[in-house]
Symmetry: C2
Subunit: 258 residues, 2 copies
DNA sequence: AAGAATATTCTTGTATACAAAAACTTGACA
DNA sequence: TGTCAAGTTTTTGTATACAAGAATATTCTT
């Protein structure tokens, strides 16, 4: 569908970074990627420029492009902002809610219930994601919707992670129900507060979960936890000299045949 | 200082867009820009990819890059989000404020006062900007600081515009003083509320101001109001056929000698 | 043998070349 | 005169070429 190779590559790399298959600090070699995608360096470079502009990679002049995962502190900070954005979405949605949106939200909610009954984590996550996206839209603020979705996408793998905490899915769904009730009642403040707490809890649960992984980089933990390590040679994690500029490991290189 | 031409060009174009000298819908012709910056198309294209990734231009495959200014509705939406981000900054800052930050904030505030006494709008605006930036930093949330600055930059020309409303500068400064007091008292809720209102008022004042410009695009109004129309041939604004894809005027082209 | 200096190889950044799609021009026809 | 179609010109997207900086290997010195 995308007319341009650069766009296709961009999406592809973005996914690889967000899912954690490209670990933090990984160097994105233009030539190797060009071989891998069977194009010249030109569209690769354009994709990298776009990723750099959105902060998914660091682009160091004459050095190369390096995958940039959020640090643990940064993730907590991101959850803090996400909570506030969702809070705003909730407050606005409570005031501006249309019948269509309410119907859709309830549908997404029942999708969560079904998934939970079957015990399908992935399905639950998809329905959950749909619920939140609908909520953003229900805010009636297109810009806010865009920003919320953008941040949501970046937190996606980590939100997914926290759902693995025992009993979290049930708790999460209860929170959704309460949110729906407040929404339907048109209670802006309650809706906002519930949503803020809902996301804040996600941040905390994620925090709990990560306590067991200390010492490892987030990217590594992600890769392990999600069981994804494509595109990466899993062999000896050769010595990682620090990048003099930002203190990140730089030795590994993406795009190898492995 | 930037080692890469593409970065330099990107900044340049970004400024031209943000200040309004590149009007909405303007087509950014690669060849003309290449001549203008005295480089080949390659770094121009890379700059355009980055601008597209941050939403400052629309990149339509096989068609070109078009300047994308926020519509009026979108601007109101952006102010709504900005208000919430600043509110969060204020709440966090009230809890986490350090002596250094407080000193700096007071310095910025007195910078506002001095500028106001002399009647220097530009100086006032710079001090004002510094005040807000310090506040973002005082939140102690680096990610939030980045996001707030990003949105602030995009709203910059419009915030500047609303300062022209009679008496607004004095009122704005009074609001700053109240915010400082609440901050110093460590009153998170008050600080947050004051800041949200502070920004919301900016949005409203801007709204008032724009009422007089209805019918014109925001970019045009910006250009007129700020007295900037560089890079644009000021002659007959030739007929503007609608772009079939997004309904924006596309005929004018950037980078002409004129 | 360790470290510094130099040579070599790699990689990035920019320029140029070329193919294909879009826009524009021209002219035929109603 | 207005509309449509074929041909021409522009302009984009990708590939390739080349120069300069960074990384690596090698040699020389102590």
């Amino acid at each position: 569908m995308p007319a341009r190779a650069a766009d296709h590559i961009r999406q592809n790399l973005e996914q690889a970074i967000l899912t954690g298959s490209y670990v933090d600090g990984l160097r994105l070699d233009e030539l190797r990627l060009a071989e891998q995608f069977e194009v010249s360096r030109t569209p690769i470079r354009e994709a990298l420029q776009m990723l750099a502009a959105t902060g998914l990679v660091d682009l160091i002049p004459r050095r190369g492009a390096f995958v940039r995962h959020p640090s643990f502190v940064e993730l907590v900070e991101m959850f803090e902002v996400m909570a506030e954005l969702e809070c705003l979405c909730g407050r606005l949605a409570a005031r501006r809610l249309t019948d269509t949106h309410l119907v859709d939200l309830k549908a997404a909610e029942s999708g969560c219930v079904s998934a939970l009954e079957v015990g399908d984590t992935d399905a639950y996550y998809r329905a959950n994601e749909r619920f939140h996206n609908l909520l953003y839209q229900a805010s009636g603020n297109g810009f806010l919707t865009g920003e919320a979705n953008r941040l949501h996408k970046r937190l996606q793998p980590f939100r997914r992670l926290q759902l693995r905490v025992r009993g979290r899915m049930v708790q999460s769904m209860d929170e959704h129900k309460a949110i729906l009730l407040a929404l339907e009642a048109g209670d802006a403040e309650t809706t906002g507060r519930l949503l803020r707490d809902h996301v804040a809890i996600q941040g905390e649960k994620f925090h709990d979960l990560m306590a067991g992984f200390h010492g490892q980089s987030l990217g590594q933990s992600l890769g392990q936890s999600l069981g994804q390590s494509l595109g990466q040679p899993l062999g000896e994690p050769e010595e990682k000299p620090e990048d003099p500029l930002n203190g990140r490991p730089v030795n590994r290189v993406a795009g190898q045949a492995g």
